[in-house]
Amino acid sequence: MTQPIIQIESLVKRYRDLIALDHFQLSVEEGEIFGLLGPNGSGKTTTIHCILSLLAYDKGTIRVFGQEMRPDSYELKRQIGVVTQEVAVIDELTVYENIDYFCGLYIRDKKLRRQYVEEAVRFVELDEFQKFYPKKLSGGLLRRLNIACGIAHKPRLIFLDEPTVAVDPQSRNRILEGIQELNRQGATIVYTSHYMEEVEQLCTRIAIMDKGRLLAAGTTEELKRMIKKSEIISIDILDLQPEQLAAIRSLRHVYEASFDGHCLKILCSGGTHNLLHVLEYLQAEGLSFGRTYSELPSLNDVFLEITGKELRD
């Protein structure tokens, strides 16, 4: 069995009376794109800062590449890349100079560094903007520069903390494709984001945390299986009597049904072909209906059911 690339056990971090991380556990395998989901203040950034030894913690152990992570674990840090949530570049340096500076913190060999910087510039598609200063770049280009600064030295493990915040859809797609490409090249990625669809599309495994605790972890499918909701059916109906609504509620696998005057919404738990059963009932009752939808639960539904709140609460 391979050793996890990140192993966190019973991590406790307190800010005076506030417990930011409460016996937090986490394990990230090599080659994964691991998503860390949680509402604001849930402890995502604190976790990353503890892993990177930017913050001291009160209790627990953190092992990266099988070794204990300490502030002076420079050999471990050499293999880690960090893309911070806030763009951290130097306004007085050009795009090329910025990437070269941050890469220079890891790579001393000038020739190798030049090669890496040129590759990073090409990777984030900033070739045409190499001599531009950050203030002249759009939000999307700036984010790409921020990413290039964090990954130019070809790290084995990359932390991406909300890298697509305030980015236009076109740039976002490029960033996501880039992350997948980095993963294909062999990098393990720890990704935090507010955008559920991004996490769902990108991550091979996801951990949901709230109030400093790990609530659930697994693949998207595993997480979806953890919740009660398995299918959401929506049907446009002109009229529905209360007794008919009660009858629908009593159908097999249906655990909740509501009618708001024109749309019938049914939540099912388990089972297959639930839509067929509902439509059969409607037909038998002689009810005419319009558009019909059947959706599987999204990651947002998983998050909502597990934490009891929206991600942006």
Partner: protein, 388 residues
């Protein structure tokens, strides 16, 4: 070396500000020296001068005639009887500077020790002629009285008074400062305005680099890398030192450009040491400002506020001898006061006579200021790191 290299790179991008300040500084120094030369030195401004005097002698006594002769030995004196209107016209058109009337019975009154206020005079108000001639008349009459009081006869007293005043020694202005004082030429203004320039250049040139490289985001990103935080701090210190020493070197070059012979004068080296100590204080101040302010756009305002307040309170622009006591009392709590005090000692300006002890006291106090500010800066740095 990546941090040091990027420090120098960013410094170069802010180099225009440093050059601008230094150019304005050089131009100002040259301008002030030229203005000073047109105004003339203090010694040139206060020289004996023959004025146009008219004396109306109603007494015609031996004393009045002797006084007239004495004044005629210094000034251009006319004694012809003229109309009052003509005298007033003369004063108005400045063909006459002073008009003296010696009343009848003046000699008798003088011998009776009752001549106070008997002489009447007229001069243009607001001119120094009145004071100048009055002082000469008083000197003559006081000397005469002393001889009379000593028991000499009137004729003997007049003769001795004439001799005494004729043989007065030539007065010479003596400066008690060191022989090679900075006064005169470009050096004195060059050193005098340095506090303002050093503070401005360091805050506008060095602080933005420190704000950039010491900013929380860049610091955090650096802390994620294998580059040790201690080496990052050392690189910033090294860069600041490089900038400070470079600035001091430019000051030295300018100093010897303004006064090539200064390289052999100990007083110039003392003034340079004084500048260097003040530069140390200014550099620490620039570092402190970089810890307290995160927006580079307000640095000009901060530099001007600190520089101007310090300059006006400590006598950079206005000589300390002209500043009110209350201002000087406040100024003592600022290092620029002691910098200017040392410069005044070296230039032979101000009330105090130069002595090495006073000079080194000024240097020591400035060093203490720099040390105290270093402690505050260190505390601010620790507090900021803890906060972030």
């Amino acid at each position: 070396m990546p941090v040091f290299n990027v420090f120098i790179k960013i410094l170069r991008k802010h180099g225009s500000v440093t050059l601008l300040y230094l150019s304005i500084y050089v131009l100002l120094v040259v301008f002030f020296v030229m203005a000073d030369e047109n105004g003339g030195s203090a010694a040139d401004m206060f020289q004996d001068k023959a004025l146009a005097l008219h004396i109306t002698d109603e007494d015609q006594s031996s004393v009045s005639l002797a006084l007239t002769d004495y004044l005629a030995s210094i000034h251009d004196v006319s004694t012809q009887t003229v109309e009052r209107g003509e005298i007033l016209d003369g004063l108005y058109y400045r063909t006459l500077n002073y008009v003296l009337t010696i009343p009848d019975g003046f000699e008798a009154s003088l011998l009776a020790h009752d001549a106070e206020g008997l002489l009447t005079f007229a001069a243009l108000p607001g001119t120094s002629s009145e004071l100048y001639v009055n002082r000469q008349i008083s000197l003559y009459l006081d000397t005469l009285r002393r001889f009379l009081d000593c028991g000499y006869s009137l004729s003997e007293s007049l003769e001795r008074t004439g001799d005494a005043l004729a043989s007065l020694p030539d007065a010479e202005t003596v400066s008690f400062c060191s022989a090679n004082a900075l006064s005169g030429g470009l050096l004195e203004p060059f050193f005098r305005y340095q506090p303002y320039i050093l503070i401005s250049v360091l805050i506008c040139g060095l602080t933005p680099v420190l704000i950039t490289l010491n900013g929380t985001r860049i610091r955090t990103r650096t802390a994620c890398s294998p580059f040790p935080a201690g080496r990052h701090t050392l690189a910033l210190l090294g860069g600041s030192l490089f900038y400070g020493l470079g600035l001091f070197l430019i000051c030295m070059l300018l100093c010897f450009l303004f006064s090539p012979e200064g390289i052999r004068q100990p007083v110039v080296w003392q003034a340079l040491l004084n500048s260097f100590v003040f530069l140390l204080f200014s550099a620490v101040l620039a570092v402190l400002v970089s810890l307290l302010i995160t927006d580079s756009n307000v640095l000009n305002m901060v530099a001007n506020s600190i520089g101007l307040v310090m300059s006006f309170l400590c006598g950079v622009f206005v000589p300390q001898s002209l500043l009110p006591d209350a201002v000087l009392r406040a100024g003592r709590f600022l290092p620029a006061y002691w910098y200017i005090h040392a410069t005044d000692l070296l230039a032979g300006r101000g009330d105090e006579v130069y002595d090495a002890g006073s000079y080194w006291t000024c240097i020591g106090i400035q060093l203490l200021f720099a040390a105290a500010l270093s402690v505050v800066t260190f505390a601010a740095s620790c507090r900021r790191r803890k906060g972030s």
